[in-house]
Amino acid sequence: MNFRELLHSGGQDLIYLFAVILFIFGIKNLSKPKTARRGNFLSALGMLLAVGVTLFDPHIESFQLIILGLWASALLGTFIARTVPMTAMPQMVALLNGFGGISSFLVAFREFQSNAIDILQKGFIDYLTLMLSTLVGMVTFSGSLVAALKLQEWLPGRPILFPMQKTLNAILGLLTLLLFVLTYQSLVDMNLDLLAKEMAYRYYYLIGIIAFILGITLVIPIGGADMPVVVSLLNSYSGIAVAMTGFVLHNNALIVVGSLVGASGIILTNIMCKAMNRSLLNVLFGGFGATTVIPTQQAKGSVKNISPEEAALILDAAENVIIIPGYGMAVSQAQHMVKKLTDYLLQKGKKVSFAVHPVAGRMPGHMNVLLAEAGVEYDLLHDLEINDQFPQTDVSVVIGANDVVNPAAKENPNSPIYGMPVFDVEKSRTVLVLKRSLNPGFAGIENELFYKENTLMVFGDAKKTLEGFLAALQELES
């Protein structure tokens, strides 16, 4: 038996199994900071192995297009991955989700085109999974595209709402189900009737088109602050699409890998929803921040506004400092200045920690990536568990964060964010809030923190303000 024969008589499946084991170890290692790089490497090794052995697959007759496709994607993929700025990472992840979706869709589409006759003979599950990989793959693609455009701000990030939105989505959903049935019926009749075959194709194409529209209408009403949930949910969808494609192709490697990715996406989605105290359904269909007209109790007391120099004096006197970064830090790309200020304060013998909310920014882990880029060590970063330290803190510095420090989440049952776990910054002695202006944040929710006794606002671009802090601190020294 030569190598090729060995592969074809089960060897290929064994090597796929070995690749799957590498993926599993890879993902396991990827969930611990210490081993994460090795995990990524192991899973890349698994991919290399799986792709390598597929090159020997007896179904492959010509290599031209495979090589062309691999070259093109290697060049473009590596180029984008190396050059994309860390601030654009949410868009990048959204796009990757979308690419996963469209490739699953294309494989399913081709399978339908070439093997429509066999599908029903193979069984109902084959038919069902083919329809689902078509639907989920395409919804993931168009939904991710909209998410990426919103994150890039080529589409407005605020929720885009139109009348009868929910009704439209419901109609599209029902239409898809109807088309599933019609396609099935046409496939059954196909052997008797030539027209039925034609109709089966038409119904199937319609499913693709409707799935494309559905992806758009599902994501477009979701506002920027809810993006972490959407990005992780689409991540999960892309995995589900892969698993469904695995059923279609009878390929266990795809099924296992798709399930792993689907599960990891669902776990992340769940973490994000918990961090906002909202259900998934509420995020998907809530149209958060646009439909709800918030009864704004305006001007409860006055806002105290100070200059960066005055703020520097306060920082200079502080022992314990907690920094709370938010989307505003990403917008003004202030992470490097944050690092410089942190280094200065640490060097002065002060204690500096970071309070990073799970949903701060536009995707899960957004702030962590930016701070890591600037060189802030990840053991300075804390989750909500840091909350018991605010009473012992001299200064909390809020940099472009809003909802995650809004006391209304604890105090005002009428607030749309009521119940969301937030940082108790108001318990620290002084709160410095760096903000561009007093405009309510993205979600349009008034923040009572700004009016508190111990809150001082420093208006302006976060990066410039931090530069001002540092310059003033250094001046104090000399």
């Binding site: 993902i27 179904h59 495979i66 390929n251 795809l254």
Partner: protein
Amino acid sequence: MQESSELIMTIYVFVLAIFTGFELISKVPPTLHTPLMSGSNAISGITLLGAMIIAGNASSLLSAEGLLGFLAVFFAGLNVFGGYVVTDRMLRMFKKKEDPKDK
């Protein structure tokens, strides 16, 4: 009978893999949320295996099958290459305090 037992096995694999996934990733520190997503995106580029078979059945980009096959390989490949490289780039940046400050 043969057919249906094969199907049952496939469903077994599916269900067990989902449980494995939940077990593996149940506790991810927030620091790794983004790399986990981009890394799992790279892994879901495994559709490349199916895409390669499609592309391997056509020889010209000008035919419908050829174009489909090429695009399927291309997009899955973007996931694989883009996903792994960007994940590694991010992970290289994550440093602990006691780590040496080399780049």
